[in-house]
Amino acid sequence: MTVAVAHRRPPRRVLPSGGRRARRADQLAGWAMASPAVFFIGLFGLVPLVWSFVLSFQHSNFQTSPTWAGLSNYRALTHDPVFWQSVRQTLLYTVLFVPITLIGSLLVAAALNRKIRGITVYRLAVFVPVVTSTVATGVIFGWLLDPNYGVVNSLLEKAGLPAQGFFTSTREALFCIVGMTVWGWLGFGTLIFLAGLQSVPKELLEAAAIDGCTRRRAFWSVQVPQLRPVSAFLVVWLTINALQLFDEVYVTTKGGPLHASTVVVYYLYQQAFQFFHAGYAAAIAYVLFVAILALTLGELWLTRRLDRDRAS
């Protein structure tokens, strides 16, 4: 009985002031240890963020003193046809890239989530594109998809199909970039999904098997629902990266032909470092920043709601 009472009553704290002092010392130590990171993140993260916000209200060519522009950079954006084209193309790219990568990496992860001989080799093979430099990827795809001398077209011709323009065609360039980036990101998604699959409790699968569930059914009805948090993370991550697409465009089409693969960040780069319209480029960056923020918050909200619906 006395034991139970003692349990119910929290032990009285001895030396409350000393405890507080100790806690403050802990906090100080914590901040001291975190301060280099805080300093550098602040310096290279927050300061540029604020500064480019200011820049977006200025006309600047990087050389002479900037002049105040008010809202004119933002206003000019609203009737810049190339900007809107780049927005449409970025959205089209995102709508294709995110689901294809997501479903593709889920399937690959499922295929790799088994114990067969040499599985490490397969897993490694899938992951290699992720660590391959984008420049190398771009050059290789450029060769494969060369309209005249590329392997893909010569295979198409052997199969009696018409040769394609790929990166040189205004209709196909963006889709080629989708293909190339899906190839490059599949390994990343697979890695995440594989980790997710392996953390699904074995008991669940065993219980399903005892209930007479097929392997395929167990995958879709037991494992996939367990992957929801992992998928939510991937969707957000892939979306952010899709909206910030740049490297692959830079190393393959340079936004062409005829702006057909110009995406927002590439256009930003062009404005800033080819035309030296620093203020205008900063305005584009801010519009993109707000769009990404809104989209990410939207996705997170949606995931939480779905989770709540499921829980209730």
């Binding site: 040189t168 032909p257 620093a278």
Partner: protein, 439 residues
């Protein structure tokens, strides 16, 4: 790296940031009176940034070492800046950090951006009032490229131009007479057509078709050949929408779309590999490509062909050394060094070591010039061709945008997406917008 697509945007933002600061900082510096730097005894060492690699870097260092041993109180420290492609970005960023060089190698297209930099040394009176510098000895195209709004902002560093380079064997096999300096566009078009074999994927000509300046400048040469200009003489309105501009686009259309005799290079530079493997018979290219042509390819070089009633004009893209002021003493050293480095005798040494074209007319009269020709036989035509450089692209801050608009027009025509007239009209209205300041 792939997973950090955030990186470019963050880097871009940070650079935007960092760079924007320099605008403010730049205004406070004291300007230097150029004549202050004239012929004082050297008391300061300087730093020179360049993007040379390989043979050129070695040749530069050899000459710098020679200068340093003769001038112990005014030494030059030559620093590789990571490559000429990014020289403008690097120098611009360096102004913020305050560690900008005394001399920097810059592309001619960068001059108008750096012309407004307050640290820049205005060389106008210096080059014109220094008798032994002999400014007019530099080829005309170089002098034009070094001048922004009448102000001399740099000293010529590299000279090139476009000429017709052809594979002799392919001409022989097809039984086509080889190009001459008197060729017309019609001769050129006919030859390209006859040298094209679509089954063997062999083309008469190659054209860089990424819409960049690489696409534009070949078109600009054709525009000038027909007597056209990019902009009006006051740089206030477009002038390429002329019969000369149309006729040039028409030729591109006729060759690429009608004859299909042109390999359209997406900008990855494959044209040279294809030329080496005998898939392309003719190129319009510069001396920089000669060293990459395989030794088993027997090639010839001639002037560019001319349109009926036109000229064999070509285009050059000269690069410059720009001087930035730290102190009078440093600028004095910088000027003395550059003056020496671009003097005819030293320039010839550099040319002999590298195969780069001489910067000055008088170099071709030096006794050792023959050594250069013997060592680089293909360069002879390129040197003669310097006299066909009569025009320069406008040195104005909005040129990259104008170039982009023209690039889109040329690309649209080559891809068969637009007829020459409507492509030209659309480029014209875009350029009007750019020049009016709304671009």
């Amino acid at each position: 790296m792939r997973r950090t697509r955030l990186a470019p945007i963050a880097a871009a933002a940070a650079t935007l940031l960092a760079l924007s600061a320099c605008g403010g900082g730049g205004g406070k510096s004291k300007g230097i009176s150029p004549t202050d730097a004239l012929d004082h005894p050297l008391t300061s060492s300087i730093t020179l940034w360049h993007g040379y690699t390989d043979v050129e870097a070695k040749a530069l260092q050899t000459l710098v070492d020679q200068w340093n041993s003769d001038h112990p109180s005014g030494k030059v420290n030559a620093v590789f800046d990571g490559g000429n492609d990014s020289a403008l970005q690097k120098t611009t960023a360096a102004f913020v950090a305050g560690n900008y060089p005394d001399v920097a190698y810059e592309y001619g297209s960068s001059t108008n951006n750096l012309a407004s930099q307050s640290k820049l040394v205005d060389l106008t009176s210096l080059v014109k009032n220094t008798p032994d510098f002999n400014w007019n000895d530099f080829f005309e195209g170089e002098r034009l490229a070094s001048t922004v709004n009448g102000k001399v902002v740099g000293i010529p560093a590299l000279q090139d131009n476009l000429a017709l380079v052809y594979n002799k064997k392919l001409f022989e096999q097809a039984g086509v007479a080889t190009p001459t300096n008197d060729w017309t566009w019609q001769d050129f078009r006919d030859a390209a057509r006859r040298l094209t074999d679509s089954a063997a994927k062999q083309y008469g000509w190659a054209y860089v078709n990424d819409g960049s300046e690489d696409t534009v400048w070949r078109y600009v040469a054709m525009l000038w050949q027909g007597g056209g200009q990019i902009l009006s003489s006051d740089n206030k309105s477009p002038a390429f929408d002329s019969p000369a501009g149309l006729q040039a686009l028409q030729l591109l259309h006729d060759m690429a779309v009608t004859d299909k005799s042109v390999y359209l290079d997406t900008g990855n530079g494959d044209y040279l590999n294809l030329f080496n493997s005998g898939k392309i018979a003719m190129l319009w290219t510069g001396p920089w490509d000669l060293s990459s042509i395989n030794s088993d390819v027997d090639y010839g070089v001639t002037y560019l062909p001319a349109p009926t009633g036109g000229t064999h004009q070509t285009i050059s893209g000269p690069d410059v050394y720009m001087l930035f002021n730290h102190s009078t003493a440093a600028t004095n050293t910088a000027w003395q060094f550059i003056k020496w480095f671009t003097s005819p005798e030293v320039d010839l040494q550099f040319s002999i070591a590298t195969g780069d074209l001489p910067l000055r007319q008088s170099v071709t009269t030096l006794p050792d010039y023959q050594k250069f020709l013997d060592k680089y036989p293909g360069d002879k035509v390129f040197v003669d061709n310097l006299n066909n450089v009569k025009n320069a692209r406008p040195n104005i801050a909005s040129y990259p945008q104008i170039s982009s608009a023209i690039g889109q027009a040329v690309q649209a025509v080559l891809l068969g997406k637009a007829d020459p007239k409507s492509a030209l009209d659309s480029a014209k209205s875009q350029v009007e917008g750019i020049l009016a300041g709304s671009g």
